[in-house]
Chain length 89, copies 2
């Protein structure tokens, strides 16, 4: 049963890597929602702090890993919006 939890955590954490690779390679952030990555990056940062406060190792590790691709996608989208290449949405 714990195995299923680890499988679930690995899948949701790993899922952001193909998106980050695609976004960084193509530079196409038009279909990416700024709102999603702003809320999501803030959310996993909160999860990480919560993990630190509750001394929950897996929670810290999973969220620290997910922060890398999610932060990259947010940075690319923000850069496009700030450069005026895209509307905010």
């Amino acid at each position: 049963m714990a195995l299923l939890g680890y499988v679930a955590a690995s899948l949701t954490t790993a899922s952001f890597f193909p998106q980050a690779i695609k976004t960084v390679r193509s530079g196409d952030t038009r279909g990416i929602s700024l709102g999603m990555y702003a809320l999501f990056t803030l959310g996993i940062s909160c999860w990480g702090v919560y993990g630190l406060l509750t001394r929950d190792g897996p929670l810290i590790v999973a969220n620290a890993i997910t922060l890398v691709p999610a932060g990259l996608i947010l940075e690319r989208k923000l850069r496009a919006v700030l450069a005026g290449r895209e509307r905010r949405s």
Copy 2:
């Protein structure tokens, strides 16, 4: 401290809604990674089953809610790929 956990869970769950709304409205799935949404949707389904098996209410609720926007985005992307409008990536 538990409050921070609820804030974190609400942010990460809510984050997929602006992306789903944007994707459904614009129909633009070119920048969306099929790999991400395939892995992510499978991952939150595993989280939901894990929640059912461990009788964890918040885990079941959070993942059932997230499944709606994530499934919608996956369905739109899959439809575009299967229609030959986009390459798989």
